[in-house]
Amino acid sequence: MPENRTRPAYRIIGKAAPRPDAWAKVFGDTAYAHDYTVPGMLCAKVLRSRHPAARVLSIDTGDAEKLPGVDAVLTAKDVPNNETATRFGQTHQVGGFEGLYRVLAEKKIRFKGEAVALVAATSEAVAEEALGLIHVEYEPLEGVFDPVEAKQAGAYQVGEDESNVICSYKVRKGDVEEGFKLADVVVEQTYRVPMVDHAYLEPESGVAWLDQDGVITIRSATQVIEHFRGIADVLGVSHNRVRIIAPMLGGGFGGKEDITVETYLALLVWKTRKPVSLTYTREESIRSHGKRHPYVMRYKTGATKAGKLVALEAELTSDAGGYVYLSPWVLLYSTVGATGPYDIPHVKVDSETVLTNNTFSSANRGFGAPQVCFACESQLDELAKQLGLSPLEIRRKNYLRTGDALATGRVLEHSVETEQTADRALEALGEPSGPSSPTERIGRGIASSMTSYGRMTFLHDTSRALVSIEMDGSVSVRCGLQDVGGGQASSLAQIAAEVLGVPMEDVTVYVGDSALTPLAGTTTATRLLYMSGNATKKAATAVRHSLVKKAADLLDVDPEELAMGDRQIYSAGDPDRAVALERVVKACAADGIPLYDVAQFNAPARELIDFQTGQGQVFPDFTFGTQAMEVSVDIETGAVKVLKIVSCYDVGQAINTLSAEGQLHGGALYGLGYGMMEEVVLDKGNTLTPSFAEYLIPSAVDVPDVKTIMIESGGGVGPFGAKGLGEPSCVPAAAAFANAVSDAIGARVCDLPVTPERILKALGRF
């Protein structure tokens, strides 16, 4: 249950509200992307590169095209605009970096798994056979697989005529040289974090067809229906001739944020004029779609003997893989977040993201924050150890508080409750467990984070929602959002129901159709509740206003006196003075008063920050939290048992407590996997962990219950003072785990994942 200062009196907001979409899911009625069939549907397959770095000398598709049952074989030459520049932002163009989006391979292959050709055939078996009949001549090239190597002069060039270094940032605050002179203790360490996968249970998938008017319609598991623009540009058709529908997704986590199957489907539909279906295999998903960036992070942190942080110097190098995608933005998040939720007078951060011939990395839940959190929080524990302070003590001496400024100069004007989250998380661990055998050691660790929600402010983010009320008083919400499973659609029902005084069951939400629902923007950057929630609240409030005004006429009272509830509009002071909602609706209709509103919510719009000093406001707001873990480590085998996990966050205002808790539980495990067992292992660009047999994520027996504590400061910029939780909930888990293990064994593992092997190595066993 959420703990809060003063509990506002809401009817539905803040309750445990079973989600409407959960029913269809639990009865097996939800049609995910791969569950949708269209008569006459062809099956598509993608031929992928056999080499991570190569020139494509020739592609002979003749044999494949002749195979009975094959309808189309496409290569780069068949794509009207095979190369476009990835634009960031919906309408606001941001200068600086334009990532190359290449549909099918041409010129140089830049990672293994790059798409070379597409096939559409009458069955999966035929499509698979056709792939084997496409003859590609490659000239393998040297390639480069280490970002540190790739950024050196003379390194193999991944692209055509660009440097391997995509971009770099700096943060400068004070003077670190002076700062370190003031330090009594300095800890210097290099941390490495691996490439990891989103591992959503639903692989990338979609079905596309031409509708009766020749509009290319794509129904796919995507976090961004706005991709219709980019796809239209590839095909050279008008934007209004491509439509994307997002059904319920089986998980996104940023992995379905970039285009996956959509362009391929569009091309094949456009070529064959028939419906086409494409679903990746799990191996294809792990091998060839975007990952979380591996980083090398050199950190130097200095503190006084009283425990006050005085200087932090960090060098971050991220491995972007073969293509740019969102690497510059992920790097920016890391750069701004490198100092954690702490007040440090002297800061120097230098960061770079570098092309290599590894699988490309892009958005993954946390978007650059988990990496630096691991480094920053590990450093703090090391300092604490050397200073004889507890991990909690050192953090308390340094937490940023409301009104403080970040190293980027941005002032934290909304509530900052990090210290409270740390106190309560640690307290909730309770009495330390005792080891169950002589070779076990118990350890405890905490990690705090501040993670943004809402997109970067220089993208001038906007979102729209349409709320309408039907003749019988039921409510419809139409919003272009994409529901990845976090209850995005359900939250809008809850908000509309609260504002209009109806039960949640009276609200139906229609989402995710670029032709029929107002565009809401991406389901990314933990922006949905903030942006679409606010837009929905705005639209519902406008509708409410009209209804209340009409009801005031009908009841002959002041509109200020009226309240809405139980499908009625009534006088708050004299509840018997009431009129049925349905009657008010009909009265409005009769008088030509609109019974709907389309509202647009604009996030604060700022200009691009100065990338040389890193000064400026990048994000609308942050969510602050702490996770605490207790582990038992077997010092002979290195095996770790996670005994306790506590996740404590200031959620601002929980909209749906079931959903909010679910984010905290799920986020903790998403981050714990990163800390404990996940790694996409590559050998010269070749993925050695392509399936769930090698790529391990936590199962139900690897983890205990997650205990959650929600603080409700009301200080969020989302609807009703809510803060975003989707990404913040996963950021500190890996760091908390690593700190707990370090506490148990008295040594530190500086590379993730903290595996039994690495633990034994840290103990000097071999």
Binding site: A17, P18, I697, S699
Partner: protein
């Protein structure tokens, strides 16, 4: 391509399909019998999304040959319960927030059903063990475990009786 006719009783109804020898039960259920509630998360038995009950035991449909199911009874999520006649597990899952993206749900609920049929009053460790073959990336398992525990504790509820949320 040689095909074999198979008769399988899916959720109480006998169905016939023509399958090849190498086809998996998962392929047959989804592609031939349109049982789309059975999900394909990995095609090789690592994730549990395709869990069905075959001849009384929870198995991965992707690791069972369709021909081997000939003459046998299979229960999918839709055989556990429907909106007209929901199983207590299904109600419990919804009420506990144990469903986020829902893709693992068909498999988890079927595994939970098999667990409770073999062990009507499992403790939390046994529940976790029972669903250890069902990966979930969204929920962190805690609410799923609570939902199963709750369903087990209350036994069968009548249709239409729902606890207040």
């Amino acid at each position: 391509m040689t095909t074999y006719p198979i008769d399988i009783k899916v959720n109480g109804e006998w169905k016939r399909a023509e399958v090849t020898a190498r086809e998996t039960l998962l392929d047959a259920l989804r592609n031939r019998l349109r049982a789309f509630e059975v999900k394909d998360g990995c095609s090789q038995g690592d994730c549990g999304a395709c869990t069905v009950i075959l001849a009384g035991r929870a198995v991965n449909a992707c690791l069972t040959l369709a021909v081997q199911a000939n003459g046998k009874e299979i229960t999918t999520l839709k055989g556990v319960g429907t909106s007209e006649n929901p199983d207590p597990l299904q109600k419990s899952f919804v009420e506990h927030g144990a469903i986020q993206c829902g893709f693992c749900t068909p498999g988890v609920v079927v595994s939970a059903k098999a667990l409770l049929e073999a062990n009507p009053n499992p403790n939390r460790e046994e529940i976790r063990e029972g669903i250890s073959g069902n990966l979930c990336r969204c929920t962190g398992y805690t609410q799923i475990v609570e939902a199963i525990e709750d369903a087990a504790a209350h036994g069968r509820r009548g249709v239409g009786e729902r606890e207040d949320a």
